[in-house]
Amino acid sequence: MRSRGFGGFAAGALVAGAVLWSFATTDVELSRLLSAGPRIADFVGRMVPPDPTVMNEIVKGSAETLRIAILGSLGAVLLSVPLGILASETMVSPPIYRPVRTLLAFIRAIPLILVAMLMVGAVGLGPLPGIIAIAFHATGMLAKFYAEAIDGVTRAPIAALESAGAGPLARLRYAIWPQMAPVVARDTIFRFELNLRESLILGIVGAGGIGFYIQTYVRSFQYDKAASVTLAVIGLVVAIEAINITLQRRFC
């Protein structure tokens, strides 16, 4: 009990120290916080009413965001199928799946916005760097999900097909795939929804999509237009969520 009490005290001291260190070394001016209220009110005031004349830009930007999400997701699925198989205990041996899993964890650790900035530098402005960034970033998660879907199936039918003389790919197709298909459908839709959400902001670093217009309007102080685009983004997210729920009911 005594050691546990000491552990609790040490953890508390550590947290307190971290908070104090952050306050002491960061320029947190209370006066700026206090004057923020009126400025936020002014900011919101200029957003209302949203300017409906940007409908064209909204449609154009949304369509591009959707295209980035669709093509980025397609790229992620194509990369995740082989990587998912290579990261699964059921299909390959430890010397293969361990390094593949480490690689996937490494990919997941790189923030999307960083990948997008690098890709803008590599291939230039527009939707292409966004598509590449989404495909790369989403593979880290999707391949892991696919591997877990493979490893999560009941083993007995796999053993039965092996006993009947079926090879590894035939076992994957007829014993593993029918069991994992609903999980794969659910995970892929979930990842597509995330891709769509994340591609909304890619425009901020020049990687295409509707985020580009929010950035442009905020920078040029056209807050009413920025508000319209933001509302459109929220509408898109809600719509995707609704479609997602419907599809999940259909598949699971």
Binding site: T154, A156, P157, A159, A160, L161, E162, S163, A164, G165, A166, G167, L169, A170, R173, Y174, A175, P178, Q179, A181, P182
Partner: protein
């Protein structure tokens, strides 16, 4: 008399176990007959069947199945596996697939590797699957998904999958332990009858002496990983059966006998 399986001085320990699952087992399974492995839970019946199916590694002894020796360190060649069919205690079916698809899965080892993965089944595979389904009396269920079937129907699908494989030796692990007595008799009638019609050898395990007597030509008693007896079905005595199922010696600290 030729042997479907020949076992000499076979011993096997499950990984990490201190007691053997199979302890110096020697046994001959006669070809074309039906043999029952009889014994209480933990006797080693399932282990012996899985080993004959080529699924266990690291055993010691001599084992040959359908005339070909098994290698204790390597799985059998894929080409030879369809000759040995296995019926699993828990059916081992793909629940979300149709009955026909599950039965066709039994044909995968007989197809070319390419057709098994990407092709559609050839007419001969479909024919074998349909025939096995008809023999098992489930023709009207062929398009149904397995997860909508009862236990008895599932066992029929599992048997049909095994028959579609056209095995020369059928190994069945407690094929009726999940079924009620009437269903159990039906299933064993079906299994031994279909095997006999095809000239295949059957080796099935059971813990029910009356079923073993009724459906087997030979009965092999197993207990604690050893062969207790190996007799013609008509020669099985009640004394031998009672001895097979005698109470386990009380372990130190567990006073089972003292309590009764």
């Amino acid at each position: 008399m030729s042997a479907a399986a020949q076992i000499g001085d076979l011993s096997f320990f499950h990984p990490g176990a201190s007691l053997p699952a199979l302890d110096h087992v020697s046994l001959m399974v006669p070809a074309g007959e039906s043999t029952a492995l009889l014994g209480p839970s933990g006797a080693g019946k399932t282990t012996l069947l899985a080993l004959l199916d080529g699924r266990l590694r690291g055993w010691r002894g001599r084992v040959s199945v359908l005339g070909a020796p098994l290698d204790p360190d390597h799985p059998p060649a894929r080409a030879s596996r369809p000759d040995v069919g296995f019926i699993f205690q828990e059916f081992a079916l793909v629940e979300r697939s149709s009955v026909l698809r599950n039965v066709l899965n039994g044909r995968l080892g007989r197809m070319s590797p390419l057709r098994a993965v990407v092709g559609s089944p050839a007419p001969c595979d479909l024919e074998a699957a349909r025939a096995a389904i008809a023999d098992c009396g489930i023709a009207d269920l062929a398009e149904r998904r397995v997860d909508s079937l009862s236990g008895g129907q599932r066992q029929r699908v599992a048997i049909a999958r095994c028959l579609a494989q056209e095995p020369r030796l059928i190994l069945a692990d407690e094929p009726v332990s999940n079924l009620d007595p009437a269903r159990a008799v039906e299933i064993l009638t079906l299994l031994t009858g279909a095997a006999h019609a095809r000239g295949a050898t059957v080796l099935f395990s059971s813990h029910q002496p009356d079923l073993a007597r009724r459906f087997a030509d030979r009965i092999v008693g197993m207990r604690d990983g050893r062969i207790a007896f190996d007799v013609a079905a008509g020669d099985l005595s009640d004394v031998a059966t009672a001895d097979l199922y005698r109470e386990t010696e009380a372990l130190p600290g567990i006073g089972l006998r003292a309590m009764t």
